[in-house]
């Protein structure tokens, strides 16, 4: 009979929620941020900065509609420029939200309950930003509906063997299912806000959003089943989305793109950048809203560990990209990797190695993982690194392909930057509105983590 072994203290983990909370205090604290808290000066300032950035998108898109894609730096051979770099980057950021809300739910990781609402919101906003780029990049965005299969007088249909059409299906499914999953998760919390709202108009709005939810056991039973099924469907979905995005590259014949490692390497990179973005947003929010007792050190520690793990997978991808270049015995593949490391975009490549491979190595140390400020800085560096990775993948393969006579160079113009920073503005504006108007933590799932909430002590995976 094996004896239970007392773990050494360094392996023991703290509670998911700090002690001293009850059902009522959890509801009041998280709900109170929406219902009672005054709009602070910090929020107004942050919102205004984000909203100003958003105007870059307005101006950039307007000028694009007037003049066409010629205002961007794209040319032949580099037809894919910033639009695709940013598309891949934003879509990747969304992936952490679905990982937290779906995969960690299936794996019974109860600590996810405190951060999943926020991460899912981030997913939806990031996919919104991502979806805009291919549409703008078509050059005639008002004809974007041609991407969809519908009977038309031209008698034309999309080519279903093309990864670009797969992208349309994957991204639109991803946005729809993420939004539905998010709304389903919000229903019981809307009911909480409806029942504790002091103002009539707030109660009416939240009441309509809650659809008359009355916490009935008969409802909960179906609700939990539907949530589990949505999680089960979202899990392969999230893996498929960035796989399909990587197919945009891997199915083509270009050196540096035509590799089998792309799907897993893209998915790992997506989750890596997503966790970095969750940390970049969560650390300040947790501080400003005093949520340290709900989003505890344990959450930061776990997310840092996941960032490190996926970062190592991404590092493995870089090593094997270089190795494949050498091992392929193909002069174009070899040239591509040499050009990437020493060509005109070499500074981008080495900065990306610094940001994505060297910086996360600090996360091996628990003292760094549990220091919010340093963790926040590392997460920002990783965000920049992942953006550079997308840039290097898209640009270095395109600008020098098989024939030296068709080589070219690409530099973004001010309009590229305006649209890019504009989407960052859109993303942050949505985040600010979200934390003001909706409960940023799933209240009802948090209740289940309280001591005494579960009747039978279920095995908790740490």
């Amino acid at each position: 009979m094996p004896q239970p072994v007392e773990l050494p203290s360094r392996f023991q983990v703290g509670p998911v929620i700090d002690e001293g909370h009850s059902l009522a205090s959890i509801s009041d604290k998280v709900g109170g941020i929406v219902l009672k808290r005054k709009t602070t000066l910090g929020w107004i300032l942050g919102f205004l900065i984000s909203f100003t950035l958003l105007q870059g998108l307005m101006a950039g898109a307007t000028w694009l509609f007037i003049k066409g894609v010629g205002i961007w730096g794209i040319n032949i051979p580099v037809g894919w420029g910033f639009a695709i770099v940013n598309f891949v980057w934003w879509i990747g950021i969304g992936h952490a939200g679905t990982l937290i809300s779906a995969i960690l739910l299936l794996l019974n990781q109860s600590w996810r309950n405190a951060i999943n609402r926020f991460a899912e919101a981030m997913t939806i906003f990031a996919v919104m930003c991502a979806g805009m780029f291919p549409v703008l990049h078509t050059g005639r965005p008002w004809l974007a509906y041609w991407l969809l299969p519908y009977p038309n007088t031209m008698d034309l249909w999309p080519q279903f063997r093309s990864p670009l059409v797969w992208d349309v299906f994957a991204v639109s499914t991803y946005l729809t299912i993420s939004a539905v999953f998010w709304y389903v998760g919000l229903i019981p919390d809307f009911a909480t806000l409806r029942d504790s709202a002091k103002h009539r108009w707030k109660a009416v709005i939240f009441g309509m959003l809650a659809m008359g939810w009355r916490s009935s056991a008969r409802h909960w039973q179906r609700y939990e089943k539907a949530a589990l099924l949505l999680a089960g469907l979202s899990t392969p979905l999230v893996v498929s989305v960035h796989t399909v995005v990587s197919f945009d590259f891997a199915v083509s014949m270009l050196p540096g793109w035509h590799t089998t490692i792309f799907p897993p390497y893209f998915v790992a990179g997506a989750i890596y950048s997503g966790f970095a973005m969750v940390l970049s947003l969560m650390i300040p929010v947790r501080r400003f809203y005093g949520l340290e007792d709900i989003i505890t050190m344990r959450h930061l520690n776990n997310m840092a560990k996941l960032t490190l793990t996926t970062g190592l997978i991404v590092g493995y991808g870089y090593i094997f990209e270089a190795f494949f270049g050498y091992y392929s015995a193909d002069i174009y593949e070899k040239f591509m990797i040499v050009n990437r490391m020493t060509g005109p975009y070499a500074p981008f490549y080495w900065t990306l190695i610094f940001c994505n491979v060297l910086t996360p190595q600090f996360l091996w140390f628990k003292r760094i993982r549990t220091n919010p400020l340093i963790l926040w800085i590392i997460s920002l560096v990783v965000n920049v690194g992942m953006w550079l990775e997308r840039f290097v993948i898209v640009i270095t393969s395109l600008h020098r392909d098989f024939l030296p006579s068709s080589w070219g160079i690409y530099w973004p113009t001010i309009w590229d930057w305006a649209v890019y920073f504009g989407t960052i503005g859109l993303f942050l504006t949505c985040i600010f509105l979200f934390i003001r108007a909706l409960p940023m933590i799933t209240i009802f799932e948090l209740r289940m983590l309280l001591p005494g909430a579960r009747l039978v002590k279920e095995p908790v995976v740490q």
Partner: protein, 183 residues
Amino acid sequence: MSIQPIDEHPLYGLMAEFESPGELVEAARLTREAGFRKFDAFSPYPIHELDDAMDLHDNRVSLYTLIGGLIGCVGGFGLASWVQAVALPLNIGGRPLISAPMYIPITFECTVLVGGLTAAISMIMMNGLPSPYHPVFNVERFANASRNKFFLCIESADPHFDRDATASFLESLNPEEVAEVAR
């Protein structure tokens, strides 16, 4: 304004309030054992033990999701095949018109899309939502059902319901309070 219907049961039911999830589960079990069928429990978060105590085993959401997923699966593959083989056949070097492996991503995405939407919509519809009005909200303290209290409501539509007998039955379950639920 709608005309108030004349109803032979002006009372919707009787509601008991409990302090803890354990008391609610025990009360729900005893209520079921006493022969009541038209009753419901209310809690701020899902309690799995209630499913057994109240004999709730509705698996239709799973079934509908499976059916929805299969429809999406067949529909996605069918759409791609029909477009490439019938609506717009393109002969590219004699390659097959129905090239199944290339249609898998579309098939998969359509499976998830229809399956996921079915899961959410069937759950909402089977729960009878949206329902802006429900008699249980007439009990003032019921607002706490979404906060920190646990409730059990026996409906007057139950054949065993008797205003006085049921009230004393609920009192015997050791609740915080028993209240009448107006219709």
